[in-house]
Symmetry: C2
Subunit: 269 residues, 2 copies
DNA sequence: CGCGCATTTGAGGACTGTCAACTTCCGTGG
DNA sequence: CCACGGAAGTTGACAGTCCTCAAATGCGCG
C-alpha cells in the first residue's frame, strides 16, 4: 500500500482518533486489491469477513428480492462499507458491486473487532460511524416515504450542487439508470422527472445538468435539514457531526434521505 | 425505580455486558418518568439530552416534511431509543410520541458518552446496538423499495405471527392508521390491502386477524431472511445477533424491511 | 343514547411501472 | 475514418398501484 493511501485511510473519521497501535494492527492483516468494473465484491447473504475501504473508484450497494434489484447506496472514495455486518460478524444484507475500476483495502473483520475491544477510542469511533450511517438511513427512509419522485430528484440535484459547490451546473456521477434505482424509480420515470423539472429551469445534457433557476427548484424541492444533510440549518447552529461513510450523505452526494407528513396530512402515511 | 425495572434495564443487550460501575454511573443521573398517551417526548430538530429506555407502554417514532407525517417505527418494552443522536450529541431526526401511557427511564446523554469512553465493553455494546439498528433500517428500505403495499402487509402479518408464535390468529398491536403509516400507505389502502389478502385466507375482525391459509399467504409474501428478520435461514445457520431495540425488527414485530429488483427486472429499481 | 373517531367503501385522479419502439451515444472492428 | 452493434436514454401508450375526497358504517366512551 502506498504511503499516501495509508494516510487517506488514517484520515478517515473511523481511524483518525484511534491509537497508533490500533491502526497498525488493523492494517497489518489488510490487503489492497484492485477490481475491474462490474465485479461483485459481496453477495447479500454471504458472511462478511472484511471491512472494505474504498480508495478509488465507485461501488454500488444493492439489495434484491423476488427477482428485482434496488440500489441502496453508491460509494465514492474514501469510504468504508459493510461496517455494521463486521461489528456483528453477521451476513451481509446488501450486495456490493464495483461500478468502475476500483482500489479497495480489505481489513479482516477479526482485526476490527479485536481493535474495538482493546482501544476504547476506536470503539467509540466505530459507534460514531455507525450512528452516522444510521442517521443517513433515517434520512433515506423519510425521503422515500414523504416525497414523490420529482421531489426526490429535485432534492438530489440540490444536494449535488451543494456537494460540488458548483454554481448552476452540476455533473451526474453515475449512469441515469443507477441514479433512477437509487432514487426509487424506473429509468423511464427518471427521464420524465427531468422533463418535469424543466419548468423550474432544469436542463439535462447527458451527464451535465444546468440549474438556471435555483430559487424555483428549491421552492419545489423544499430541502429540509432533517432529511437532506446539505440543507441549511435554521439559526447559527453548528453543522452536525454525522459524517461517516456508507450510505452517508457525503458519499451519495446528499442523494438519499427521508422525513414526513404531519398529523392531519396524508400522502403515504 | 423499582428493582425489577432496574433488572429489566440491566437485561438490555446494551447494558448486559457493561461493567457494574458503568451501569451504576449511567443510571445514577437517570430518572424514571411517566407520560400520558399522546405526549410528544421529542420533536425532530431538537437537541437530544437523554437516552430513552421504554419500560412500559408504546412509543411511536415519526418524521415530518411539508405538512405530511410518516411513522418510522413503533417501540414496545423494553427498548432504548434515540441512541444514535445521543452518541453523536446531535439533533433528533425523528419525533417521538407516546401512543399509550408510558413509563420511561431517561439517562443523560453525557452519562452515556462518558461511560463509552471509560468502559470499552460498553462502547462495544453500543456499537453492536447501533449496528443492529442500522441493519434494521436496511431491511426497512429494502421492504419499501422492493415490495408493494399488499406484499408489505402480508409480510408484516407473518412477522407478527412469528413474534407471537401464535398459530393462525394474530393480534394487531396498534391502531390501523398507525400501522398503515408504518407500512407506507394510507389507512384506506391498508383496508383494501386486507381485503386483497382475503384471497389467501386472511380475515380481519377489529384487531384480530385470522390466517387460515398460511401457506398461501407465504407464497404471496415471499418472506426473505435478508429483509424479514423472522424469516427462516437457508440451512442450519445460527440466527443472527442483530437483536436490539429501536426500529429493530422485534419492536416492529418484524414489520418493515426492504430490498429489490434484479438486473433485468423492473419495478421501482 | 348520541357523539366522535376509526375504519370501510366507492369513485376518480395522480403517480408510477410496464412494454415497445425509437434515438442517441460509444466503443469495436473493418 | 467510418460502419456496425449494443447499451443507455427517451418517448408514447397503457395499465396497475396508490392517493384523495366524500360518504357510509361501525365502535367506544361519555
Amino acid at each position: 500500500m502506498r504511503a499516501c493511501d495509508m494516510d487517506r485511510v488514517k484520515g478517515l473519521p473511523l481511524f483518525a482518533d484511534a491509537a497508533a497501535d490500533t491502526f497498525r494492527v488493523a492494517t497489518a492483516g489488510a490487503h489492497l486489491q484492485r477490481f475491474p468494473a462490474g465485479t461483485m465484491l459481496l453477495l447479500e447473504g454471504d458472511p462478511v469477513d472484511f471491512l472494505y475501504v474504498l480508495l478509488d473508484g465507485q461501488v454500488e450497494l444493492h439489495g434484491t428480492w423476488n427477482d428485482h434489484e434496488t440500489v441502496l447506496a453508491i460509494l465514492r472514495p474514501v469510504s468504508t462499507f459493510i461496517l455494521a455486518a463486521v461489528v456483528l460478524d453477521a451476513d451481509a444484507l446488501m450486495s456490493a458491486r464495483t461500478l468502475e475500476r476500483c482500489e479497495i483495502l480489505m481489513i479482516p473483520g477479526d482485526a476490527i473487532r479485536t481493535a474495538m475491544r482493546l482501544d476504547p477510542r476506536f470503539a467509540m469511533a466505530v459507534s460514531r460511524d455507525l450512528a452516522g450511517c444510521y442517521r443517513g438511513l433515517v434520512r433515506t427512509v423519510k425521503n422515500h416515504k414523504l416525497r414523490n419522485s420529482v421531489e426526490r430528484l429535485a432534492n438530489y440535484l440540490l444536494a449535488l450542487r451543494a456537494a460540488d459547490n458548483s454554481g448552476g451546473v452540476v455533473r451526474l456521477h453515475h449512469e441515469k439508470r443507477i441514479l433512477a434505482s437509487l432514487l426509487g424509480m424506473t429509468p423511464e420515470n427518471l427521464s420524465r422527472a427531468f422533463s418535469a423539472l424543466q419548468a423550474v429551469g432544469v436542463n439535462v445534457q447527458g451527464a451535465v445538468v444546468t440549474l438556471s433557476n435555483v430559487a424555483a427548484l428549491e421552492a419545489l424541492a423544499k430541502p429540509d435539514p432533517l432529511i437532506d444533510n446539505h440543507a441549511p440549518r435554521g439559526g447559527d447552529i453548528v453543522a452536525e457531526a454525522d459524517a461517516e461513510v456508507w450510505s452517508s450523505e457525503r458519499n451519495r452526494a446528499g442523494g438519499e434521505a427521508g422525513a414526513r407528513t404531519a398529523s392531519a396530512g396524508r400522502r403515504n402515511d
